[in-house]
Amino acid sequence: MHPITAIPQSVDAFLRAEPPTIHDWVMRRQLLLTACCVAVVVVGAGSYGAVMGSWREPMQALYTGLKLPMVILLTTLGNGWLNGMLAPLLGLNLTFRQSLAAVLVSFAVTSIVLGALSPVAWFIVWNTPPLTAGTTVTSPEYGFLQLTLAVFVALAGLIGNLRLYPLLRQWTSRPAAARNVLLAWLAGNLFLGSQICWVLRPFIWDVHPVQFIGPEGFHGNFFETVFNALWRLL
């Protein structure tokens, strides 16, 4: 039996919290936990987004700083109903609020990691040759930046999801059920998150003037483009 614990007062307390403690927060203090997680996402992912956009110009930094947390929060909300239904169907008796809170905790951890990587990302951006009139989408510096920043996001996402698994294990005695729910949530969030990113692009740079959502935002979709690219290669 774990004692009821207060919501953490600091980021390190949040990261150090054991799965039973986080489970306790999710079960008992959903509103406060949600508010904390949203704040962490806004600050953590926002700072990383600002660094991403800073390669281009301050306005892009501002926009990407707003868009990256938006991607996370919209993905959480967009898949909230689906995730809440998949959990009991796959053997985890979570309520909608609990599943939403659990996903949000995972994204909060991801955002904290992103926030922590922001100085490193900024250093990389600072060392990257600046944007010039001759920069194109095939320029090596742009490709390098895209790849590096995407690797950081992938790393942060991986850590967030690894943190989610022991939390899900708190709700069931069957590891397979926790694993299935985690994989289903991960697949759904990746699927929707990729498309939201696609709609809200650019995050770093594109050939058009700086806009919050580029003119190509609602044209095409991420998977169609990847599929077409693969098709052309083959």
Binding site: L82, M85, L89, I196, H219, G220, N221, E224
Partner: protein
């Protein structure tokens, strides 16, 4: 002297050990009790009647055994009606989302076709489900079979609602009808898989001897539902008439859609 003190116990002679009889072949141990093998209604929570749509949605997601038990009770028709109405409502909502791909009149045509197609498919397949389950030895009454099929529809459509935000964002950002068709089919297959799982669990409590009939029915249901999307086309695209003028098999229709997608066009 106490007579007990005078008692000097003498150990009885050890009888010779008889030869051990040969071990009879061991019967296999009974399997551990699983969720599916417990009789329905064993848990008092399963006996709580389902009286309104929200309870039906909650029960089908979290306590499917409660739905199965309630379907065996007298006056299960009310629960069936609730589940069917919620299914229609959910399919209409999902249809509106599907209709946003083309907009305009498809905003009402798509929900009408999706909800109608789903109900007609279920109605067409109900007799074969009942016959196949009877042939499999199931003791389920027709009303229970109707109820389990309604449960399949309910679970399927509320899962589709879960996919609706994803479908909407793709609808707004892509022009490729083939891509959207594949996406909706994938969502429908996932939702159907969960629905079929519920149906299977329901029949597992009705003393079925064989699953062959049920498996056959699943293939029939899938084929009917998929063909229904072709019979009621276009659901995503636009057309001048509500229903198609020519008849087509779904594979031919899909082939046409993919071919049109390669040329950047839209199949009506």
């Amino acid at each position: 002297m106490n007579e007990f003190n005078e008692f000097k116990p003498v150990p009885p002679p050890i009888p010779p050990v008889p030869p051990m009889p040969p071990c009879p072949p061991q019967a296999p141990l009974p399997p551990p009790p699983s969720l599916g093998s417990r009789p329905l209604g064993e848990d008092p929570a399963e006996r709580v009647p389902i009286t309104h749509p929200v309870a039906a949605i909650d029960a089908i997601l979290r306590h499917p055994r409660r739905v199965m038990f309630q379907l065996r009770q007298p006056r299960a028709e009310r629960l069936i009606l609730i589940m069917l109405l919620v299914s229609v409502g959910c399919s209409v909502v999902y249809g509106v989302v599907a209709g946003t791909f083309s907009g305009g009149p498809q905003l009402w045509i798509a929900p009408a076709k999706i909800s109608m197609g789903l109900m007609i498919s279920a109605f067409i397949c109900l007799p074969s489900l009942y016959i196949f389950t009877c042939l499999s030895g199931s003791q389920a009454r027709l009303v229970e079979v109707c109820g389990l099929l309604s449960g399949l529809l309910l679970l399927m459509t509320i899962l589709l609602i879960g996919f609706a935000p994803v479908a909407w964002i793709f609808s707004q950002s892509t022009d490729a009808i083939a891509w959207m068709g594949i996406l909706h089919l994938v969502f429908w297959f996932i939702a159907t898989a969960f629905g079929v799982r519920f149906l299977d669990a329901g029949f597992s409590h009705s003393q079925v001897r064989s699953r062959a009939g049920f498996n056959t029915w699943i293939i029939i249901f899938l084929l009917v539902a998929v063909q229904m999307t072709t019979a009621l086309r276009p659901i995503l695209g636009k057309a001048d008439t509500f229903l198609p003028q020519d008849k087509k098999f779904f594979l031919a229709h899909w082939g046409d859609c993919l071919a049109a997608g390669d040329h950047g066009g839209r199949v009506r």
